[in-house]
């Protein structure tokens, strides 16, 4: 047989199986496109020039790895659906006298066609949407919009290599399947009598317990950041519980219904209950997948929306001052402190003059931070290298009362052996407090100002401690240095500068630049110097990156969900076709058939959606607390966004249902 024959046959096969191939092709094109876009964006030179663009590109690069892995799994999964459907066809070929090597050839050309078309179309749409994404990102990051065409050969090569590899693996997998099976097996395909599933009581109860435990954890974890392992455990428990409930819980429930004869032997229950038993046996894992992915989509969507909406508020919360400078002190603390204050104040004034802005107010405080592990009546400072591996570390922020009063206008007055303490996560309960060689009487001061600002409290909890005088700070600094060496923190003075209200962004920026260049020229040991404007830019870019990747992954997951549902429906329809044919002969009319199909499809379809909703509801409070991880502090609106995301998802889901249900009826009643 000539080469042209196989080429033509492969093309015909794809055309004839278009019902299953078109969605596969679309999903291939979409994955190629999305993968290209993420890669292209992550190396786009224009984006890296935007302030904060580097942060975003780093996130995108990480996202690319996730997307690549996901694409491979996803395409394999959908391909396996195709092969299951076509087994019979290959069986007929071998009965008709085609050898396995000929079938292999046909499969090879088919895969080649699919690969060529999807990579080509994927790259073209990729280039177009890449440009669109760049425009969107620039808009989100408030950078100027550049017109013109952008093309990334590097990303193209990456995509070619990645998807060439994936398709090659798919081809090898398909060939292996055909090689390993004999014609009779191929002919029968999936039509071998299937055992009725058994009720697994133990696993079903376990599923309920595991899910319940996950929910309990999600509801009771108070400080997710301190207990991040527990959070992971909760998530794992809920996922595991979902799989158990879908696989065994559903079947056990159906078995109970079936054993209730009076209920089971009724027209409206008979076919749905027995049908669902087999359906759940075959599809439980798929449904659980859909459920978990739905939760993922909903959470990603709500996080992304919340992020985008609340950026400005958070910037002001995180950076309350126009500029913040932190300078390490050396030698005698009091002298150094005064010198630093004078020098920075003068610097700020001259910078303000040059930038033609006026200072509103400046504030100073001197403090020391020490990482330590809370223990009974004391904080233990871990020595040396071990500090990086220590769990349960908190940060202690020490300040002397003079500095604290100066900063807040308070009138704190302590004895030399007394401290006031205030915890950001929970208050200190002991009456005495010892750290290294020092010992104090501790009293809680709940209303103490968290002078380090919110940036400091993001990761891990912390305690603010006011001591009597700066000499104590100095003693603590020396003892800590002896223990921690290079890891030890130094006493530092923080300078907070506020410009007059109503100062324009550009002016504020100029002021920041001048101040920073001045700071570089001094011999002071500057550790932090940031202005709200530049930090805000970085912050916005970071958020935009997270938002973009979040939305992107959300869409990808959604697409995967849609396709899995579609394929599931199609393959079930083919399975059910014969059964409904028989029922029609035995005396079931079209209307009754439709009714029974509808009730089954509805259950199968909306079970994951409802379960996803329950999951989101139970893990909601946990997610809200975790939002701090992505620097989102304004969590009050999160509920609204979550509900909105769920609604949006439900609408898309319902549309998919309508479309696939129609295809299903068509196949079954054909």
């Amino acid at each position: 047989m000539s080469k042209g024959f196989y080429l033509k046959m492969a093309a015909d096969n794809i055309r004839k199986n278009s019902k299953v191939y078109v969605p596969f092709l679309i999903s291939c094109i979409c994955t190629v496109m999305m993968s290209y876009i993420v890669r292209a964006l992550s190396i786009n030179s224009g984006l890296s020039e935007i302030p904060g663009g580097n942060n975003m590109q780093m996130i995108l690069s990480m996202g690319y790895v996730v997307i690549s892995i996901f694409s491979a799994i996803f395409l394999f999964y959908t391909n396996s659906f195709l092969m299951k459907r076509r087994k019979r066809e290959f069986g007929v070929y071998s009965i008709l006298g085609m050898e396995k090597k000929h079938i292999t050839k046909v499969i090879f050309y088919e895969t080649l066609y699919i690969a060529a078309v999807s990579i080509f179309a994927g790259l073209i749409t990729g280039v177009i949407f890449d440009k669109l994404c760049i425009l969107i990102i620039r808009r989100m990051m408030e950078a100027p919009v550049a017109l013109g065409f952008e093309l990334s050969p590097v990303a193209m090569v990456w995509s070619l290599a990645l998807f060439g590899g994936i398709f090659l693996l798919i081809l090898l997998g398909n060939i292996r399947q055909v090689r390993l099976s004999n014609p009779i097996e191929l002919l029968k395909g999936g039509n071998v009598g299937e055992k009725e599933p058994k009720a697994k009581w133990f696993m079903a109860v376990l599923g309920i317990l595991v899910t319940g435990a996950g929910y309990y954890l999600a509801l009771t974890i108070q400080s997710p950041l301190a207990l991040i392992q527990l959070v992971f455990l909760a998530v794992l428990l809920v996922i595991l519980g979902t799989y158990l409930l879908f696989t065994t819980g559903s079947i056990t429930t159906l078995k109970i219904l079936k054993n209730n004869k009076k209920y089971y032997y009724r027209t409206k229950n008979f076919i749905p209950v027995s049908g669902m038993l087999y359906r759940m046996k075959k599809n439980a894992v798929g449904l659980a997948n859909i459920c978990v992915m739905s939760v993922g989509v909903i959470l990603l969507l709500s996080i992304s929306i919340s992020l985008y909406v609340t950026t400005e508020n958070s910037i002001n919360d995180l950076y309350p001052n126009s500029a913040r400078i932190q300078i390490n002190l050396a030698g005698n603390i009091r002298d150094a402190e005064n010198q630093v204050k004078a020098e920075t104040l003068q610097m700020a004034e001259s910078a303000a003059e040059e930038a033609r802005v006026s200072l509103d107010k400046t504030a100073f405080y001197t403090s020391l931070s020490i990482p330590a592990v809370p223990a009974k009546e004391r904080f233990t400072v871990v020595s040396g290298d071990a500090v990086a591996m220590t769990r349960g570390l908190v940060t202690l922020y020490f300040i002397d009362q003079e500095n604290y009063n100066g900063l807040t206008g308070d009138h704190v007055s302590l004895n030399a052996d007394e401290v006031y303490i205030h915890g950001t996560e929970k208050e200190y309960e002991e009456k005495s407090l010892s750290i290294m060689d020092e010992q104090f009487h501790a009293s809680v001061m709940e209303e103490m100002k968290e002078f380090m600002g919110e940036t400091a409290t993001v990761i891990g909890g912390g305690y603010y401690i006011i001591v009597n005088n700066a000499d104590i700070l100095q003693r603590l600094e020396q003892q800590q240095k002896a223990l921690l060496g290079g890891y030890a923190d130094r006493i530092s003075t923080t300078v907070l500068i506020d410009l007059e209200k109503g100062t324009g962004k550009d002016h504020e920026k100029t002021f920041g630049t001048i101040l920073e260049s001045k700071l570089k020229d001094t011999d002071m040991e500057v550790t932090i110097s940031e202005t709200r404007v530049s930090a805000g830019d970085k912050f916005r870019a970071f958020r935009a990156g997270v938002l973009f990747v979040g939305l992107y992954l959300g869409i990808l997951l959604l697409m995967a969900t849609v396709l899995i549902i579609y394929y599931k429906q199609i393959s079930e329809a083919y399975d059910d076709k014969d059964r409904y044919g028989i029922m029609r002969k035995v005396g079931l009319n079209q209307k009754e058939i439709k009714k029974s199909i509808r009730s089954q499809i509805l259950t199968v379809f909306f079970l994951p959606l409802v379960t996803a909703g329950v999951h989101v509801a139970f893990t909601f409070s946990l997610m809200k607390k975790l939002m701090v991880l992505v620097l989102l502090n304004d969590v009050n609106l999160f509920l609204i966004y979550a509900v909105a995301s769920y609604a949006l998802f439900a609408i898309v889901y319902a549309i998919i249902y309508t479309v696939t249900a129609r295809t299903y009826y068509k196949i079954v009643s054909a």
């Binding site: 009725e196 009724r266 008979f270 027995s274 059964r579 028989i582 035995v586 005396g587 009754e592």
Partner: protein
Amino acid sequence: MTILDVRNLKKIYTTRFGGNQVQALSDVSFSVDPGEYVAIMGESGSGKTTLLNILAVLDQPTNGEVLLNGKNIVAIREKEISAFRRNNLGFVFQDFNLLDTFSVQDNILLPLVLSGVPYAEMTHRLRPLSEMLGIEKLLGKFPYEISGGQKQRAAVARALITNPQLVLADEPTGALDSRASDGLMTLFENINAKGQTILMVTHSIKAASHAKRVLFIKDGMVFHELHRGELSSEAMFQKISDTLTMIAAGGESNE
């Protein structure tokens, strides 16, 4: 008093694009009395299956009428067809048509469940029937766990459980080995002896020889008719095969 009266049935199939017309039945008329056991024979393409499909209300004739107990089933409204078939007709198919996802018991009960019969009544009917058919031990099994003959007996049980006016059988021995076929034919005779009217379409001379009357269809018409009378099934077998030979040789109808 006849239970089934078929009058001047005609069926013309038109291919999808209206090109060719195929006449499957040209003019078929016959009647069946209560308690009769009629076999319809004919070569492939003679119109047997078309006839059975029309009797089963699965297909509509182009012309003519079918009276079941005096009621014209051709005129039954679409909505009532399924209920009518469930209540009046029992079906036995060549390939059994048992549902793999139901146990034997559930397969048998399916028509009753669809008709909304209470569960107590179902078991009441199922017990004697399954004993008569010798499948009482198979009720909990699934179709893929039992042999072809057992499957066909389950299918017969499903056909009989609604106490139908008429049992329609389409090549019931077609997928069975000879021993299972003999068993099934004896079963049909027993059922018939209890007063059940049976109409069977078959290829098999052996199967047909158990019937009380055999109709031969050729080219869409009833070509010939044989009554068994007091003949043994062996003698009937001989008579049928003679008739078939004659039909194949292209002879005219006698008698």
